[in-house]
Amino acid sequence: MLISNLEVLPGQKIVRHLGLVQGSSVRSKHVGRDIMASLKNIFGGELQGYTELLQESREEATRRMQKQAQEIGANAVLNVRYSTSSIAAGAAEIFVYGSAVELEDHV
């Protein structure tokens, strides 16, 4: 499955557009991480726990979007966009969406 934030793929022909596909994931870290992060916030710097959290969440959301695309018979998702929002204290949602397409001769 090709996932791209390009809208036109050079040298590849789009046979059909199959509509919008989306994936989302809401996750939180355990309190230990939250407490560490609040301590780290005093000194500044990277909050590794949260970097990891958002990374995992992004992967999960992408997997879900890919699953949707697969289920409707697409072989690529183009023009993909990510958005992140804080849903509740300590929990973040990652949302990804794109255009499911069928590419010619693409495996």
């Binding site: 199959l18 309190v31 204290a89």
Partner: protein, 282 residues
């Protein structure tokens, strides 16, 4: 080019869990976590608190300078209370390196408490209700027992440490935090009630040694029961979540302990000093 709208199947963006099952599991796990945490920290903090030398406690209290009933208390009252404290300390017995210092406050509060550095504070509101010296001695011995058991320090070490660390966790739980706080608080009360029971036991023993009988102790709890308006039978929840044992239970415990230790429940009551009620008015 063709444009279609194909519908993806349901449920891809939803984690398949049963909401109630998940809730029940999480609540159980969170409550267990809180209880274990509070118990561990109470023990750990209490263990450390008990090992802090009493002198440090006294030095600390001298530095913070909390005004314990400092607004010109009647000197006769203060010396009478301190005299009674000396007698009871001698029979407790309180170790030589420990000492108590009784303060008096004119405020109309039905309470007395022991705090760090062997400081006791008695409020006028409580003293007014004392029928005789034996009842007063029971309160006094109870508070001295707290000092003897290092309870203010244990409370500081165990109680404060566990509540602070608990709030770090429950603060993250948003909505569920208040319930978990209560769970932690109720767990903590098991420890404070244990302290109160131990203090009652030690106080009763001191009373028996001082006066030769424990008559008058029951009068104290009777006064307390009337004051708090405990006339109905408390339900199991109130009994379980209270910081202090209920007066009713303490009243029962007096006769039980007296029977166990062979202390007489009968005996001549020592009256309060003749001018006691004048001092209260000063």
């Amino acid at each position: 080019m063709r444009y279609e709208n194909r519908q993806a199947p349901e449920g891809i963006n939803v984690t398949p869990v049963h909401p109630f099952k998940q809730f029940a599991q999480l609540l159980f796990a969170a409550a267990l976590l809180v209880i274990i945490l509070v118990v561990l920290l109470q023990f750990f903090g209490g263990w450390i608190g008990k090992r802090v030398p009493f002198q440090y406690e006294q030095a600390l209290m001298e530095q913070v300078d909390i005004s314990l009933g400092s607004e010109s208390p009647p000197p006769e009252m203060v010396s009478y209370l301190n005299g009674l404290a000396q007698q009871l300390s001698a029979v407790m017995p309180l170790p030589k390196q420990m000492s108590v210092n009784v303060h008096y406050s004119k405020e109309d509060v039905f309470n007395a408490f022991a705090t760090l550095g062997g400081n006791l504070l008695f409020y006028r509101g409580l003293l007014e209700q004392m029928p005789n010296e034996n009842a007063l001695a029971m309160v006094m011995a109870h508070e001295i027992a707290h000092i003897l058991h290092r309870d203010p320090m244990v409370g500081l070490g165990g109680g404060v440490v566990s509540m602070v660390s608990l709030s770090m966790i429950t603060g993250q739980a948003g909505f569920a935090g208040s319930i978990l706080d209560k769970t932690g608080f109720v767990t903590g009360t098991q420890f404070t009630r244990h302290m109160e029971n131990e203090a009652d036991q030690a106080a009763l023993a001191a009373l028996a040694r001082q006066y030769g009988h424990v008559n008058g102790a029951d009068a104290l709890f009777e006064v307390m029961r009337q004051h708090t308006g405990e006339n109905k039978t408390p339900d199991w929840l109130e009994r379980f979540a209270a910081t202090h044992p209920l007066s009713e239970d303490r009243l029962d415990a007096v006769s039980r302990r007296a029977a166990e230790s062979g202390w007489s429940l009968e005996g001549d009551l020592t009256p309060l000093p003749a001018r006691f009620h004048d001092w209260l008015k000063q």
